[in-house]
């Protein structure tokens, strides 16, 4: 049952919880956005519980009727469940009676209904309240009054949509269809990878000591990869001097960066010339290079693709190492990064072994991605006393459109474009 205060309902933001936005440029962001409690609460309501599509699970996670998974939209707990007709339902994981979690495991199978453990109220697979224990009381005593309208008491229901085996949910009736939401350019890059049935290979959770947006920025930051990650530069997995670029959706929120396996040509010495640490060419070699042995899998020479859907979904292809990542806020200064490694159901044993080896590149212990685990915390701590100062996101200009280079922060600016629109800043 939903009662909203007037002020909440009416509240149209004219300024931020922290005063006016410092400067109307996508190239400047004040550091309080990573620190302010009121702003964090507002993100829950304006982003995660509003007009955004949020990743909730894979179709492969819930193949059969009654299969369910639990997840969160920001801090909103939800249940995603496969219905009898094969459709997928999603509703708030909160009992309509006194608010207990209805399900408190990662997932499982309930046959036809969920039963709250507290007082045994029960729900069908669409989240409709169906049963109330002792609704009529005993010997005419107790029970619910006759005029109690059970239908009007249900957990909040979410809309769901599926795309290439991914399941997204939104609490808002106004969120546009997923294809429009993502935009055709980025959409094509999702279809490129998720082109046949997948199989999950492993799951891990990586808690990070930073605000959730610092990680999302990091993922969208095509500029940092080869400058922070020695592996990418040294082994030419991804250098700014290699072919590639970044696609940014018109609304800014979604992106896909890519590196193409072509030689660097004239710029081959650029890293050495600038004495960039990550160029260990010649100084660092692998005793067993099999971790880098990959095969062309998608027929387009794209050896690395990182893709994000606003606000918190990430799809990764690094050589033959595939994963989806889900960003879950855990308060203003903490987040969880949920990793799901996958392959395809038709993988050969060799391809399976190749993926297992290449999984060394990513995740909490990834040769490549390890640094992304700590750098967000470095920013969180570096800006501790700088709430009213701003970050400078000006590489490649001040706009957020697709570019043929990765020496740009265009998709980071894109994130702030979408963020400010949702937050009303």
């Amino acid at each position: 049952m939903d009662i909203r205060h007037e002020e909440t309902a009416l509240e149209m933001p004219v300024s931020t919880p922290h005063g006016p936005w410092p400067e109307d440029s996508l190239a400047r962001v004040p550091y309080w956005v990573y620190q302010d409690e009121a702003n964090y609460k507002r993100e829950m309501q304006r982003l995660f519980e509003a007009n955004t599509w949020n990743f909730v699970c894979l179709e492969a996670d819930i193949p059969n009727k009654g299969d369910y998974r639990t997840n969160q939209l920001g801090e909103l707990p939800v249940i995603v469940v496969r219905d009898a007709d094969g459709s997928i339902n999603c509703f708030e994981n909160r009992c309509a009676h006194r608010g207990s979690l209805i399900a408190f495991d990662d997932g499982g199978n309930v046959q036809n209904n969920f039963k709250c453990i507290y007082h045994a109220w029960s729900y069908d697979l669409a989240g409709n309240l169906k049963g109330i224990a002792f609704e009529r009381g005993i010997n005419g005593l107790g029970g619910m009054s006759k005029d109690f309208k059970r239908e009007t008491f249900s957990p909040r229901k979410l809309r769901t949509t599926t795309l290439c085996g991914l399941v997204f949910a939104t609490l808002s009736p106004d969120t546009p269809p997923i294809k429009d939401y993502i935009g055709s350019a980025v959409l094509g890059r999702i279809k490129r990878v998720l082109n046949r049935p997948i199989r999950v290979m492993g799951r891990f959770v990586q808690p990070l000591p930073n605000n959730w947006k610092l990680y999302v920025e990091n993922v969208k930051d095509t500029y940092h990869a080869s400058l922070l990650h020695t592996f990418l530069a040294t082994f030419r997995i991804s250098r700014l001097t290699q072919g590639g670029g970044v696609l940014v959706s018109p609304d800014g929120g979604n992106h896909s960066s890519y590196t193409i396996a072509i030689p660097e040509g004239a710029n081959a010495t650029a890293y050495k010339d600038q004495q960039i640490r990550t160029d260990q060419d010649g100084r660092f070699a692998l005793a067993d290079p099999s971790v880098l042995e990959s095969v062309e899998e998608f027929g387009d020479h794209i050896q690395l693709q990182i893709l994000s859907v606003f606000p918190g979904f990430i799809l990764q292809q690094i050589h033959n190492c595939l994963a989806v990542r889900h960003v879950v806020p855990r308060g203003v200064g903490k987040m969880d990064l949920v990793w799901t490694y996958f392959g395809f159901t038709d993988d050969s044993p060799e391809m399976n072994r190749r993926r297992l080896k290449q999984q060394n590149l990513v995740g909490p212990a990834g040769f490549i991605s390890m640094e992304d685990g700590c750098v967000g915390g470095f920013v969180q701590r570096g800006t501790a006393a700088a709430a009213d100062h701003v970050s400078v996101i000006q590489m490649g200009g001040s706009t957020a459109e697709s570019q043929e280079t990765r020496a740009t922060e265009a998709s980071v600016r894109g994130f702030w474009k979408a963020y400010r629109r949702c937050m009303g800043y």
Binding site: F231, K357, Q359, P364, M370, G373
Partner: protein
């Protein structure tokens, strides 16, 4: 297999890591070998994927050269507390062993966290010289969470 020698192998294993003598670590494995870090949940679900996956001593050495030379992270160290090995079975000189462990991570500025707990599932056999070495060490962590990053092996 003599339990005392297994205990000593595990003590040596913990010591080279906790004393930051990382280069000694790969030497405690056979080559080829299998070293994997995963979780009880992945094992139970039959998911093969690992946080770390190495099937040659070379891959173990690469872990060390990488953490020494190229990876970036804040200074930290581990303290292993290793329980008593339980020998599950033996066949032609090799033993299947299970050993519980607890790892405390100590960060540069001094914070101490229970970083991981779990069970080593090992295949142990002597090398040519008769010294016990790991043919297989599957690190099965009890929990699914790996805070910030994992630079140092478990």
């Amino acid at each position: 297999m003599d339990i005392t020698r297994l205990v000593e192998l595990n003590a040596a294993y913990a010591r080279v890591i906790d004393n930051e003598q990382f280069e000694e670590w790969p030497k405690l494995f056979h080559d080829p070998c299998l070293y994997k870090v995963t979780t009880a949940e992945n094992v139970a679900a039959g998911l093969e994927g690992g946080l770390i996956y190495a099937d040659t001593r070379g891959m173990l050495e690469d872990r060390i050269s990488s953490l020494r030379k190229v990876n970036i992270y804040e200074r930290q160290r581990y303290r292993h507390i290793v329980g008593l090995p339980v020998v599950l079975g033996q066949a032609n000189g090799a033993a299947d062993v299970e050993t519980p462990f607890l790892i405390v991570r100590i960060m540069r500025e001094g914070t101490m966290d229970v970083f991981a707990t779990g069970c080593y599932r090992d295949k142990v056999k002597p090398d040519e010289a008769g010294a016990l070495r790991f043919a297989e060490r599957i690190v099965v962590c009890d929990g699914r969470r790996f805070d910030t990053l994992v630079a140092i092996p478990f």
